[in-house]
């Protein structure tokens, strides 16, 4: 799996620039600089669930060249505006993610409206609430949340994604107030930022230390705040669908995007969230119907699932 090797090599190259600050985890990371299976600490590129992302390897190679010479800047801009098209092109390679987005937003809307005691029939129920979208990518989740009235901060460790997200959000006055930051959850915790709701959809399967990541997510939430995490289950069915079918047969995702051993089962997720003082209140699954091409919410958590939890009141 040459592309996966390349992916992990690139992660090694880019990692030092993301972690200039000495932090206790840095030494841990140095130890983990293996080429075959590296799971960078929460700053991996954030591909969508069973959606697809156009060749992250090519995309990642661009930043390294940028550092070397600045004469490629114009070329970079041109390249990234081409990629910007596909991120937000609803008929393009990200189509499955666009189709799935309303379903996960429906879950988020119903659970968070209940959590905050807001009227579910209001057009902007999250007015006045601060949300953070960890691993926001091109902003596919952040923009609808902003349109629902929330004050959204989107963070992603890949700067390209942040730029794309910023460009797209500026096109609609309703979303131009989203704050996009190229940073990690840990850094935000250090800055002592607090949010009413912390969302990390399809991120935790790409993180080196899920337990530590959950602790950061918990630290970002105010006491009694909401956390929403979605990921893929570590089950045989998920192996068959999310990896074999999505990556190898249908080519929705580049090969090697997901690593089955880094998926979490719902029980494990609940446990590590509990240790991070978040109690999971609700969980639901997403099911894809290949005949109609539609995703729907269901009780079936054997492949994609989403969990809503509240941070324990201190």
């Amino acid at each position: 799996m040459a592309s996966k090797l390349l992916l992990s090599q690139l992660r090694n190259i880019t990692r030092p620039t993301h972690h200039r600050l000495i932090n206790p985890n840095f030494i841990f990371l140095l130890k983990n600089q293996t080429l075959i299976h590296s799971r960078p600490y929460s700053d991996a590129p954030q591909p969508p669930p069973v959606g697809s992302k156009p060749s992250p390897t090519n995309a990642d190679s661009a930043p390294t060249h940028k550092k070397i010479s600045s004469s490629l800047n114009q070329a970079e801009l041109a390249k990234f505006s081409a990629i910007a098209e596909t991120w937000w092109d609803a008929e393009g390679p990200f189509k499955p993610l666009h189709v799935m987005n309303p379903t996960r937003l429906a879950f988020i809307r119903s659970t968070l409206c209940r959590h905050f005691g807001k009227d579910p029939y209001s057009a902007k129920p999250f007015e006045g609430l601060k949300f953070v979208d960890v691993g926001c990518g091109g902003g596919i989740l952040s923009e609808p949340l902003a349109r629902m009235g929330a004050t959204v901060t989107g963070i992603d460790a890949v700067e390209k994604n942040i730029n794309i997200a910023r460009l797209h959000a500026d096109l609609d006055p309703g979303t131009s107030s989203i704050e996009y930051l190229c940073t990690t959850a840990e850094k935000l915790v250090e800055e002592q930022r607090k949010f009413d709701a912390v969302l990390a959809l399809e991120v935790i399967e790409h993180v080196a230390e899920p337990a530590e990541f959950c602790k950061s997510l918990s630290a970002l939430a105010v006491s009694g705040g909401a956390n929403v995490i979605s990921t893929i289950n570590r089950s045989m069915r998920a192996y068959a669908t999310a990896i074999v079918v999505a990556e190898y047969l249908l080519h929705w995702l580049p090969k090697g995007t997901h690593e089955w051993s880094s998926f979490l089962t719902p029980e494990e997720l609940v446990l590590i969230l509990q240790r991070a003082s978040i109690s999971v209140q609700e969980m639901a699954g997403f099911v894809y119907n290949p005949l109609t091409g539609k995703w729907s919410l269901s009780d079936d958590i054997s492949v994609n699932f989403i969990a809503y939890g509240t941070k324990n009141i201190e």
Binding site: L77, L105, L171, E179, L181
Partner: protein, 501 residues
Amino acid sequence: MNRAIVRRITPNIRTWRSTLKTFCSDTSEKLHGSHGDKAVTDSTDNVPQYDVAIVGGGMVGMAFACSLASMPLTKHLNVAIIDSNPALLARDNIKKEDAPDPRVSTVTPATISFFKGMGAWQYVQLHRHAFFDRMQVWDYTGLGYTRYSARDVDKAVLGCVVENKVLQRSLLSCMEDSDVKKKIYPSRLNSMTLHKSSLLSGTDSISSEPSGSLAKLNLSDGDCLYAKLVVGADGSKSHVRKLAGISTTGWKYPQNAIICTVEHTEDNRCAWQRFLRTGPIALLPMGDNYSNIVWTMDPQQAADRRSMTEADFLKAVNDALDDGHGPRPQSERIGDGGILAWLRSDETSSASEHFEVPPRITKLASDRMVFPLSLMHANNYVSKRVVLIGDAAHTVHPLAGQGVNLGFGDANSLSRVIAEGVAVGSDIGEMTLLKRYESERKAANIAMMAILDGFQRAYSIDFGPLNVLRAAAFHGVNYISPLKKNIISYASGEQRLPLFT
């Protein structure tokens, strides 16, 4: 002036910063796009911005606007209605003493509940409207007839006949009484372009993202406005459809329709339709001893009948309805006692009714109007930031009174899809959302159009064996109760697709 300078500098600063930026370094760079001063209407050229621009303020366009106004999720949307019809801005009431306008529509029970849900039906009830609970269909061969009754499906009415201007005025009043933000532009649409949002229009040549941009509409009186979604409700010759480049399929029928209002001596609560050689004639009750005539025939005859004297025309109408062109059907009943009585065990009540002769027309109460008929279906209902509803998307033959009901169904479906989109924070002009409306309505519309077209062809051929087949069909529908109930509920709009719901 300072603000103008700031506006010009700000985009430049952003591009400069983004070219210099390499990696995301330790000091997390904040990329604030807007610096706060971007209100909805605050664009560089001060053009108002709306969420939805409805081009065409006819019945279907107004129903859509009213439906948006009545749902809590969508009533905050800014709506612009573009229609040069002065009746929209006029405030004069419809006088009850006038004879009914010949332009009427038959409103199905599904449409009535749509109106009731929006709170618009109470306005319709203030004006003339006529419910009917019976219908009789037969043809010139006199070999068979079918009678329908609302009691067959345990309902009170089969439909209601309302003048078009009453429907339009009621919807307008309903909208005005709600607190939705709307503006009526009394002009026509000239042109439409997909436009980048003003903030980016001054910056470098990063390619435009059609999915993120707005539609700019230029009107004939010089106004222009931006909209996130343009709804084409401007009728069969839709300008919006042409501008969006949506092609159509269809054909003209070799028939024109004459419509007029007539008076008769008896009260009429039944809808009558007789298929003649050249096309059907329908008599629709309007209350107060008035009825509406829709008579389809070939263009030459239509021109003749329009110009003939009133007395001649009335005689022609009475002939067409009664026993000119062919004999009256016999009131036969299968298995009237004896061996075949078991066939009638599950009969609907209308199957036992005898053939009735329609009321005799005594007076012509309005001008005669002639309209050409055609079938048209747009190949796509949606395009980038544009969606078509009503006659702009499809036109049908009037033989079953379904045309405007399909349009109201479109308006209902589109407003619900938009509400669902707003609930999950989508951009309302986005193709994925609009395609959900299209997939919902296309199947239903095409099914109805195919059936109506089939009927039109079946009844336009005068051929012995085919006449017998049609007579058998009349009898069959009359006596086979499940089939009759299915037809009634499909035609009432309670069922979305024939047979398989």
